[in-house]
Amino acid sequence: MTGSEPKATPDLARDLGLSADEYDRIIQRLGREPTYTELGLFSALWSEHCAYKHSRVFLARLPTEGSRVLQGPGENAGALDIGDGWAVVFKIESHNHPSFIEPLQGAATGVGGILRDIFTMGARPIAILDSLRFGDPGEPRTRRLIEGVVAGISWYGNCFGCPTVGGEIAFAPEYGGNPLVNVMCIGLVRADRIFRARAEGVGNPVFYVGNKTGRDGIHGATMASATFDEHAEERRPTVQVGDPFTEKLLLEACLEAMNRGAVVGIQDMGAAGLACCTSEMPARAGTGMEVELSRVPQRETAMTPYEILLSESQERMLLVAARGREDEVRRIFAKWELDAVEVGRVTADGWLTVRHHGEVVAQVPVRALAEAPRYEKPTVRPAGLKELQTFDPLTLTEPADYDEALHALLASPTIASKEWAYRQYDQQVGINTLVLPGSDAAVLRIKGTRRALAVATDGNGRQVLLDPRLGAALAVCEAARNVSCAGGQPLGVTDCLNFGSPERPDILWQFAEAVEGIAEACRALELPVVGGNVSFYNETVQAKGTPQAILPTPVIGVVGVLEDSERLATQWFKGAGHRIALLGPDTVSLGGSEYLWARHRLVAGALAPLDLALERRVQAATQAAVRAGLALSAHDCSEGGLATALAEGCLTGPETVGCTIDVPAATRPSLALFGEGPSRVVISVEPARSAEFEGLMAESAIPWRWIGTTGGARLRIRVGSTIAIDTVVEGLEHAWRRGFERHVA
């Protein structure tokens, strides 16, 4: 069998994505030429995806510690202590490329992967959030992508039985040939029952559990090998297909085996499947592992060791059991109608020894596989960025009709209602969802406690393009602000960094700056980053051959806690006669705004400055107002500025209500209405409690003012002395409801 395999050479190494230096390094570490299978192991474990070769040095800048951190980066997911003996486990992952090749299955398997990351920690998944980016929704191709991706998330999440409670969908031409599909999952586990992906205990049995192994998603380079024997046709690597039903069984079986104490360590077979698990698990524990590949349940005939090791078939786990509990493990998985096969054991020698029908096909020190090279490649500030930033949006003509401008903005797909998507998602299974999709953050109760969790994702590629450091910091702030608006105290962050090729210095500069911005914001807001994901090479090769990178898009997921689940807020006004306050600074900008894009198709200008200390105080004040029951509604100002935030307050609730607003004159009404800037929150208050609210604001030491009252059927906004907006809410609602849906339905 292995006889038919090619000999390892520098050329073959290159085909497998390893550089000449890397190949030499392998020979050094082994003291000999690697076998073909060993080369496969290195190519997978030293790939950008598994080894973070280009990003590690930068990611080291992120703050990962905090009093609540039970598990930081490095495991399947991060974990935070949320009191009452509970821990929240969460992580975000990208599945961009697979979703472009096959939208439905790509997105579905993305959901499957992140769910497994959560329940391998011993946690039961309680919520999913999906953060999506697409090209122009007017294009048929984009429409098919959107429909496929949403259908895939819907199918997998719904069938598995985990609610999808939030996310985003934003649009820009740069995503046309490379959509982003980032999925975040949150789970709950007893703080003292967290499991880790470590192969502890020399002599412990190693179990393969879950679906059978096929040739799914094997590194395209296997094609090269196929030419060496007669199996060429059947060797063609195939698209991964999701099986949410098996995943659900895997969840129940794994949790049952864990609760019985039969499990020592466990890891999901994700990217680079078995190869990844058999080297990372012992590497983390300072042990070794030996496996017999012929025991691995296989769906296909004539699979080579290389293929079995690198297959990315879904719904599989590698599980290290406690010696003597083997039968118990088999019984539990049999009960759930799943394969559980002993394929090897933990050793003391620090080596990974892979056999196939008894014959050793790979023998490598696990550290060698785990210790991939790290690069600090050159970074260069992109040419032309200065010009972009110095563009002054105020030189553009003001709209003749601000009502029309607001309608257009609400109808812009990025701002418009995403109900078309989330009504296809089960949002409630588990009966924990106190706030469903449609408000700044989703809120989930924690049964058996008074507490609840608030979660949100955010990331604005336009702002990051114009100023990576500031833009990324703004993403952290907005996600946290969304959590604060629900009444939650942000506790931690997971980040998914979607960028172009790190081998391009200008792209790597964007990346380095963005990471720095996230680090600054997280330090200031005391938010540890406990897990995340880097997705490079998000670019499309255009007709002319020049690669077009996506907008640099860090997506930030924030999890926060509400001490009292009864004290929460949603973003919409609750009726007539309530006073409306605007918290935060007046400094806003049209630079990089949705207005500038929707109206002028421009991505340019300078972003409004960010004062992290003030941001923190505004969020604290917002949380306090919600906690005190003073805030009948709380909504942050993001895309579309104040006018959009107010309109959303009027029309996103079960009953619409108008409002009448007065704001000070600005250089241009468009700036006051549609200008975007951080640290701004709109809160509505019972008049009878105005004094109490004013007291709270005074204590908070933040700029704020009353700007109007709710009531009537119209949205009226006076800027200085001119009535800029005066229109019926119903019309705005129609624009907002149809803006996205009209492209897909």
């Binding site: 096959e102 679906n211 096929g214 799914d216 059947e234 195939t238 039903f245 098996t246 078939s313």
Partner: protein
């Protein structure tokens, strides 16, 4: 002209549906099911002067919409 199109998963692609149905049948007392795969049958009535033309239209339809080239093969009968 009635044309029958069969759309099946490519060989090697996990047939989630087929595997589940097979397991169910075995459980219902059909241990003699050695293998089972589930696909789609699409029956199209095409306005075409000749069978040959109807078939070639059906073939176009498959390439344009009916079959997903990444996952599925199709045959026309």
């Amino acid at each position: 002209m009635k044309i029958r199109v069969l759309v099946r998963l490519k060989p090697g692609i996990l047939d989630v549906q087929g595997a589940a149905v097979k397991r169910a049948l075995v459980g219902l007392g059909f241990p003699d099911v050695a293998d089972l795969r589930v696909g789609k049958v699409i029956e199209v009535d095409v306005d075409a002067p000749s069978e040959a033309q109807a078939r070639s239209r059906a073939d176009e339809m498959c390439r344009k919409l009916l079959a997903n080239p990444v996952l599925e093969d199709y045959t026309i009968e």
